[in-house]
């Protein structure tokens, strides 16, 4: 009986997973269908663009500065006396803009934005505010989901560019003015070495756009699926953070493998 119970449980989990995937696909299509209503929901879109940048600015700045400092300390520690200094600067520069900043920032914002998105929409769901939107002839997907997804898609790259700039600047200052292990000229020539414009584009636009979409979509999706009261809101919030963090890490590997 125990084995049968286990199989039943496994089957139920499997069905729930595929139902969730189907529902996510439906929400994705509904979000796309709302794009022609962009002008109608322009106020909500602008609010979300503003909210995603302004509310995350302090944490983004803090993370970016310490990514730059941390990568510099690690870079100098790992390299031997025989390695050219500009080469180490090159490794710090590339690993920061392509990998470290996009993924660390996205993971932190998955917790901050994704979690609060799911909680916000989830609490609206359980307190009938989503129904209230519909009775005001407003589509919840157009009013809530589409603006947040667009904000994730377009504003996470903006925040990543800002974070990359801060990270490299803090690394440059740390290297040249505090540790004095490299001259400013050598650091800049290290940055220029083997420079590919696509790498900048990849780290600042492609990755953050995809990660931003995942964070916003996952938060909205799990928020709209919320059942029950405060406990349901908590579950939606946690699930959203976990799912988006896992997807970000997995996609980070595949994007690097496919595009670099």
């Amino acid at each position: 009986m125990r084995g049968r119970g286990f199989l039943f449980h496994l089957g139920e989990k499997g069905i729930n997973f595929f139902v969730a995937v189907y529902e996510a696909a439906v929400l994705f299509v509904e979000t796309l269908k709302q794009l022609p209503n962009l002008y109608f929901y322009r106020r909500q879109v602008i609010e979300q663009f503003y909210s995603l940048t302004v509310s995350t600015l302090p944490v983004t700045s803090l993370i970016a500065i310490f990514i730059g400092l941390g990568s510099t300390v690690q870079g100098t520690y790992q390299t031997s006396a025989l390695t050219p200094r500009y080469f180490t600067a090159n490794v710090i520069f590339k690993s920061t803009i392509i990998e470290l900043t996009p993924i660390v920032l996205s993971l932190v914002l998955a917790g901050k934005i994704g979690g609060s998105l799911a909680a916000e929409i989830g609490s609206m769901k359980v307190s009938e505010q989503i129904d209230a939107l519909q009775t005001l002839s407003l589509d919840p997907v157009g009013f809530l989901v589409m603006p947040r997804v667009l904000a994730g898609l377009f504003m996470l790259p903006v925040m990543t560019i800002f974070a990359n700039f801060l990270a490299i600047f803090s690394s440059f200052l740390m290297s040249t003015a505090v540790l004095h292990w490299i001259s400013p000229g050598e650091y800049v020539s290290g940055m220029k070495m083997g420079f590919k414009a696509f790498e900048l584009y990849f780290g600042n636009f492609i990755k953050p756009s995809i990660f931003g979409f995942i964070i916003a979509f996952s938060g909205s999706f799990f928020g709209l699926r919320t059942r029950g009261g405060a406990k349901g809101v908590g579950i939606a919030s946690t699930t959203s953070v976990v799912v988006s963090a896992v997807l970000i890490v997995i996609l980070d590997y595949f994007l690097g493998e496919l595009l670099l």
Binding site: F40, R43, E120, S123, M124, S127, E128, Q129, D131, A132, Q134, T135, L136, S137, L138, D139
Partner: protein, 242 residues
């Protein structure tokens, strides 16, 4: 006029509405009375398309909303306002923006006109001066009245009330009942009130429908209910510990 014809609705195999028939006449207040769990709110949500019935028809001014497109349904909904049991005010917006949302999204009114309409709606519900407050700063009774202000600002033809007096003290409940009557008297609004509150029914009803186990077992004047179904009313009161 709204006509509900042979409406059925079930959730996960459990039948909640089992062939409901009801006509809601214009300019009158129809009260749907019944104990909890009998499908009152489900019926109300079907009337604005928040839930889709398994079968049956809901004719709103002659148009069956169970068969119209999503776009058309959104158009028809503009004739309705819905006052939710807990108010369902948007907690991220202050009172004035809660009330102004419909006007901002669906009309081209200028800011001055929107502000005037919001103030007027708040005056009608007796809450002038609360424009800048957030829902969390309001008491239960105030939330209900702001929800009514949000409902009337769009000048709807129909207002649907889900348990408008539940959770309110007697003074606030009487204020809400008074408002429902005032809106009918002064603006000619057609109201559908779902409640288990007998005092609410006695105060606002022009017509009463008694719902039990998913069916209407009586539709008529409130005087008839008091004459013929006094036992039912007592049972209802007892079931709520009133």
């Amino acid at each position: 006029m709204i006509e509900i014809r042979d409406l059925w609705k079930s959730f996960e195999g459990k039948e909640v509405l089992r062939g409901v028939n009801l006509t809601i006449e214009d300019g009158r207040t129809t009260v749907i009375l019944g104990p909890s769990g009998q499908g009152k709110t489900v019926l109300l949500k079907n009337l604005v398309g928040l839930l889709k019935p398994d079968r049956g028809q809901i004719l709103v001014d002659g148009e069956d909303i169970t068969r119209v497109s999503r776009r058309r349904l959104f158009e028809i909904r503009k004739r309705f306002s819905f006052v939710f049991q807990g108010g369902a005010l948007f907690d991220f917006l202050p009172v004035k923006e809660n009330i102004a949302l419909f006007l901002r999204m669906h009309t081209k009114m200028k800011e001055d006109e929107i502000t005037r309409r919001v103030r007027e709606a708040l005056r009608v519900v007796g809450l002038s001066g609360t424009e800048e407050l957030y829902p969390e700063e309001l008491s239960g009774g105030m939330k209900k009245r702001v929800a009514i202000a949000r409902a009337i600002v769009s000048s709807p033809k129909y207002i649907l009330y889900d348990e408008p007096t539940t959770g309110l003290d007697r003074t606030n409940a009487r204020a809400v009942n008074g408002l429902i009557n005032k809106l009918k008297r002064e603006y000619g609004i057609t109201s559908v009130v779902v409640t288990h509150d007998i005092e609410c029914m006695e105060t606002v009803a022009d017509k009463v429908a008694l719902l039990k186990e998913g069916r209407m077992f009586f539709v008529g004047r409130k005087e008839e209910v008091e004459e013929k179904y006094l036992d039912y009313l007592y049972q209802l009161e007892e079931s709520y510990g009133i």
